[in-house]
């Protein structure tokens, strides 16, 4: 029995390594590190891009509330050799100056990651809306935040 258990444990430990090697040898070159977020329709593109809201004021905003709101639509594509796969997309505020509220597809972003899309298809551009809201109480001047995006294959 002890011999059987030892063999079972060894096989179990060895399985991931064997599996990983099989993926490398396969025709599809899918390996860890191939997964990539690509921003589309924003300045910079690639995995690190920028959205400039420009000058924001209540007078320019269409909002009737005491805030300035601007919206921009952009695209995200998840690149991976694993065609047909799906992934989960999360976002959170990596840097935030506290002068604005940022929503992605209506979801307010904070310092904790929030799921933006649970079943995003790899290789397909999905459109998202970023909404930047500045309260009337904020003093005039520049603002800046950085939204960190994380993607994991399902």
């Amino acid at each position: 029995m002890k011999t059987f258990l030892s063999v079972a444990l060894m096989i179990t430990i060895a399985l991931p390594a064997l599996g990983g090697r099989r993926r490398v040898v396969a025709a599809s070159p899918a390996t860890q590190g191939d997964l990539k977020i690509v921003f589309v329709g924003v300045t910079g593109g690639g995995s690190d891009a920028m959205v400039d809201a420009g000058a924001m004021s209540q007078a320019r905003s269409k909002s009737k509330h005491a805030t300035s709101v601007t919206k921009k639509v952009f695209g995200i594509r998840i690149d991976s050799a694993a065609e047909g796969a799906t992934a989960t997309l999360l976002a959170f505020l990596e840097v935030h100056d506290g002068r604005s509220t940022i929503r992605i597809d209506g979801i307010e972003i904070g310092t904790a990651p929030k799921v933006i899309a649970a079943q995003i298809r790899v290789g397909v551009v999905t459109t998202h809306t970023i909404e930047i809201e500045v309260p009337a109480s904020v003093s005039e001047g520049a603002f800046a935040s950085a939204v960190r995006w994380e993607v994991a294959t399902n």
């Binding site: 029995m1 258990l5 079972a8 444990l9 430990i13 399985l15 991931p16 599996g19 860890q32 590190g33 191939d34 997964l35 990539k36 977020i37 921003f39 924003v42 690639g46 995995s47 690190d48 891009a49 920028m50 959205v51 400039d52 809201a53 420009g54 000058a55 924001m56 004021s57 209540q58 007078a59 320019r60 005491a66 805030t67 300035s68 991976s80 694993a82 990596e94 002068r99 970023i130 930047i132 500045v134 009337a136 109480s137 904020v138 003093s139 005039e140 001047g141 520049a142 603002f143 800046a144 935040s145 950085a146 939204v147 960190r148 995006w149 994380e150 993607v151 994991a152 294959t153 399902n154």
Partner: protein, 171 residues
């Protein structure tokens, strides 16, 4: 035996989790906040439309010395003229601004008809220069200003149409 099997299952679970591939990216958001103020006409005598906006309209209908006062107005008859009186409510809001008060002025859009005088807060308005209504207006609250139209008995029977242009400036 049981412990060993559980341990094996646990190992297999951790091994499966390792297959999820992950990646990340950053979207930087920048912009500049500009200060601004807004002005709205909240109320006015007459049959008024567009209140709550920056372009309201008051229709007084036909007015005469010995007729009835227009809706929302009172009529006072003098020896050689007559006056219809009401109020105009103006609200100024601010955003992203440290200013604590504002100056409000008014000016007629065109020269008044002969024999007709337009007054706000007791001051006669003209189309050539702005008249200051207040230099210490409070943001967010509606200021009420008396509005008088004085018509001389000698004035011709004709339309008295005009526009009052309000301008708010943050102090």
């Amino acid at each position: 035996m049981k412990k060993a099997v559980l341990f094996t299952i646990a190992l297999m679970s951790f091994a499966s989790m390792a297959f999820a591939d992950t990646s990340s990216g950053t979207l930087t958001v920048t912009g500049t906040v500009e200060s601004s103020i807004s002005l709205t006409v909240e109320s006015a005598g007459g049959t008024t439309s567009g209140t709550g906006t920056a372009a309201a309209t008051s229709a007084l209908g036909s007015i005469s010395k010995y007729g009835s006062a227009p809706t929302g107005f009172t009529l006072a008859r003098g020896a050689s003229n007559w006056t219809i009186s009401s109020t105009v409510g103006v609200k100024v809001n601010k955003a992203n601004l440290t200013s604590t008060d504002y100056t409000l002025t008014a000016q007629l859009g065109s020269a008044p008809a002969s024999g007709v005088t337009w007054k706000l807060n007791g001051s006669t308005l003209s189309d050539s220069a702005a008249t200051t209504l207040t230099s210490t207006g409070t943001y967010g609250s509606t200021g009420s200003y008396s509005w008088d139209i004085v018509v001389a008995d000698s004035a011709a029977a004709a339309a008295i149409d005009n526009a009052i242009n309000f301008t708010a400036t943050s102090n």
